[in-house]
């Protein structure tokens, strides 16, 4: 009995330590990535210290910088959640970019062509339209996967291009501002816009994104549906045998994942741009993958990593403003972060295990049984991919 108790304490402690070390090592990875980025700067002839100081000042240096960081974090969080949600169901939705575009398009259609509603009706209608747009776009890939077994990875990538051209066509053609010459739609009516927070560029979309993260966390970890999604994501075959409708879940998750990106797209339009035009997203959808990974494919973890990447972007903007250094550097830093985080287990897995073991041993006393190699992966949940067909 006592031993059982000890085992339970041991386990919960170990789990906490695991989360803790993960956070520490992820932070370490980010730090190393920044160092690597610094190296690239040196080669490119920029002073890394000065650049990072500018990035830091720009991102969190003052209230305005931080608000700007959150403005950037908003679409990134939506895109990260989009990737995360599909990932947890064993799907690779590389199509957040396209889904952002179509979401923005659908939301804008509702904003411009459903006139005369009070804001408390109009805004929700527009957001729902954005949802629907993203959901349909991702649903195409989901449908092709379920119905034809076509890889969602490739289809979502292809749909990104199609979406961007579709929006380009709409804003230069049918939805062009009446009487205007520019390739953009008319300004959205006030009733369709998202309000601003603290009298800055920060808008309610950010709160919407945080709410979406919490909702997804709740769905994944507290609900029956989330249980199904995770089971499908981890072991499709077993899920099927247990009676979980795999195909239905794949399709639904794909659609909800797209819907999240869809709101993200509309929020960017209704919160920041106020009208739709071509190429409004500078690759938020692709950055979302990095956000999801660094966030540990956990909805709440995404909030932190979206702010990190948002800060990186707004900081890099500040840096460019002051020194003219190209923001492309940020891509390099982002890529390095992704690589280091994904390979975390390979480089630091052993070290991490040893740290956890020695810490647990110090607190509870050593255990005799062997710890299979796989455990680390299970808790990490990253770099591991199960249940893919």
């Amino acid at each position: 009995m006592a031993q059982e108790m000890r085992a339970t304490i041991h386990e919960s402690l170990e789990r906490k330590l695991n989360v803790l070390t993960d956070i520490v090592f992820y932070a370490g990875s980010v730090a190393i990535a920044l160092l690597a980025g610094g190296l690239v700067m040196l080669v490119a002839g920029v002073s890394p210290i000065e650049a990072y100081k500018l990035i830091w000042d720009g991102a969190v240096g003052d209230a305005n910088g931080f608000k700007e960081t959150l403005v950037k974090a908003t679409p990134l969080l939506f895109a990260g959640l989009c990737y995360t949600f599909a990932y947890r169901c064993g799907l690779f939705n590389i199509g957040a970019e396209g889904q952002l575009y179509v979401g923005a398009l659908a939301g804008t259609v509702a904003a411009l062509y459903v006139p005369g509603l009070p804001w408390y009706v109009h805004l929700p209608v527009c957001i729902l339209a954005g949802c629907a747009g993203g959901a349909i776009w991702a649903g195409i890939a989901g449908f092709l996967k379920v119905g034809r077994g076509a890889s969602e990875i490739i289809n979502t990538i292809m749909l990104n291009y199609v979406a961007i051209y579709l929006v380009s066509y709409m804003v230069t053609g049918p939805m062009k501002e009446p009487g205007g010459t520019l390739p953009q739609t008319a300004r959205l009516p006030d009733s369709a816009l998202l309000g601003k927070l603290f009298d800055s560029r920060l808008h309610y979309g950010f709160l919407l994104a945080v709410a979406a993260a919490i909702l997804l966390y709740f769905i994944l970890h507290r609900t029956v549906w989330g249980y199904e999604i995770r089971a499908v994501g981890l072991n499709k075959q077993a899920a099927k045998v247990m009676g979980i409708p795999v195909n239905r879940n794949v399709l639904l998750v794909m659609m909800l994942s797209g819907a999240i990106a869809g709101i993200g797209g509309y929020a960017e339009i209704a919160g920041v741009q106020n009208r739709l035009f071509q190429n409004f997203s500078p690759g938020f959808g692709y950055d979302g993958i990095a956000v999801a990974l660094v966030g540990g494919a956990h909805p709440l973890g995404n909030i932190g990593s979206a702010i990190l990447f948002g800060g990186l972007r707004s900081g890099a903007n500040a840096m460019q403003r002051m020194t003219g250094t190209s923001t492309s550097l940020v891509y390099v830093i982002q890529a390095t972060i992704i690589i280091l985080v994904v390979c975390n287990r390979y480089w630091f897995g052993g070290l991490k295990k040893r740290i956890i073991a020695s810490l647990t041993a110090r607190v509870v006393g050593r255990r005799s049984d062997a710890r299979p190699e796989e455990n680390v992966a299970v808790v990490l949940g990253i770099g591991e991919r199960e249940g893919r067909s």
Binding site: L182, V272, Q273, S281, N317, R321, S326
Partner: protein, 308 residues
């Protein structure tokens, strides 16, 4: 006008520039960068620039520069208009200048645009005059007004100058795919076009390369593109944003600026022909005379090309 602080002789004028694309694109963005360099060199201004500023980031940059005390902020593209309009009232001591737009707002927002239709008209006329086959081609990059207008102007100019001419036009839908630009030009050349104009920033050089390879002529756009292919580019119709920007900033520094939109063209010397370089001796005098006549009619205001 409220922005008179720039007149302080003690401190140099601070000028910031935002461009939508990379400043080394040999096209639209490079022009603006050249303008900024000119402003720095000739007006002794302190300058800063940010490139590849997308719409989602524009406000951040503009506000940032304004807060950093810049006297003039130039947004090189109509897409910055909306944002500048919104921010301008908060910084009355700063002048906001939108290029390629017709926007204005009291007291401190002005815009500067060149008559792209006129530019296109000139290019089209020259192309038509140079053509042996009776077919000329114009290829545009992104579907945005300065480019679409230049392509439309090209068609107009070619047809008015040589009524029998056939004009092939298309849009690439983007500025970065050089291969596509080149192939498009090749397809037009193989259709029979023997003079090609490409107005597509980075990708634009693909059109000139195609002409060079196929042994036909090209008309350069925006900058003197002859050095890229001396035996191919007959001439270029330059839209002298650098000069225009300098003039405007100079006005600001003298406190003479008004918050209105300015459309500059051949008449104002903002659009003109590049030298013929090696073609000087190859073009028959008769053709040269015709070209000169067209330029002169635009210059005198005898001929007016609307930029609407």
């Amino acid at each position: 006008g409220g922005a008179d602080s720039g007149g302080d002789a003690a401190e140099p004028l601070k000028v910031a520039l935002l461009t939508p694309g990379p400043i080394n694109d040999n096209g639209w963005n490079a022009t603006a960068y050249a303008g900024l360099t000119l402003i720095q060199e000739e007006l002794g201004a302190e300058t800063a620039y940010s490139e590849k500023v997308g719409n989602s980031d524009a406000a951040e940059f503009i506000r940032g520069y304004a807060e950093d005390g810049y006297d003039v902020i130039i947004g090189h593209g109509f897409e910055y208009g909306d944002v500048m309009k919104e921010i301008a009232p908060d910084f009355e001591d700063t002048w906001f200048l939108v290029n390629s737009s017709t926007l204005s707002q009291e007291p401190n927002l002005a815009s500067l645009s060149l008559n792209n239709s006129e530019q296109g008209y000139l290019m089209g006329s020259i192309a038509a005059l140079m053509s042996q086959t009776g077919k000329v081609a114009a290829i545009g990059g992104s579907e945005i007004p300065p480019i679409t207008k230049s392509v439309q102007g090209f068609e107009l100019g070619a047809k008015e100058t040589v009524p029998s001419i056939e004009v092939l036009t298309t849009m690439l839908g983007g500025d970065s795919d050089v291969a596509k630009a080149k192939e498009t030009a090749i397809s037009f050349i193989e259709e029979g076009a023997d003079v090609v104009m490409t107005n597509a920033n980075q990708a634009g050089l693909g059109g000139i390369e195609a002409a060079k390879q196929k042994g036909v002529l090209a008309i350069g756009s925006n900058q003197d593109q002859n050095p890229n292919a001396p035996d191919t580019v007959v001439t270029s119709v330059i839209q002298d944003y650098p000069q225009a920007m300098k003039v405007v900033v100079e006005r600001i520094s003298k406190g003479e600026m008004k918050a209105e939109s300015q459309l500059l063209g051949v008449k104002e010397g903002a659009i003109y022909l590049a030298p013929f370089h090696g073609f000087e001796d190859k073009i028959p005098q008769e053709t040269k005379d015709k070209i000169e006549a067209i330029v002169a009619s635009l210059m005198d205001g005898v001929k007016v090309i609307s930029n609407e």
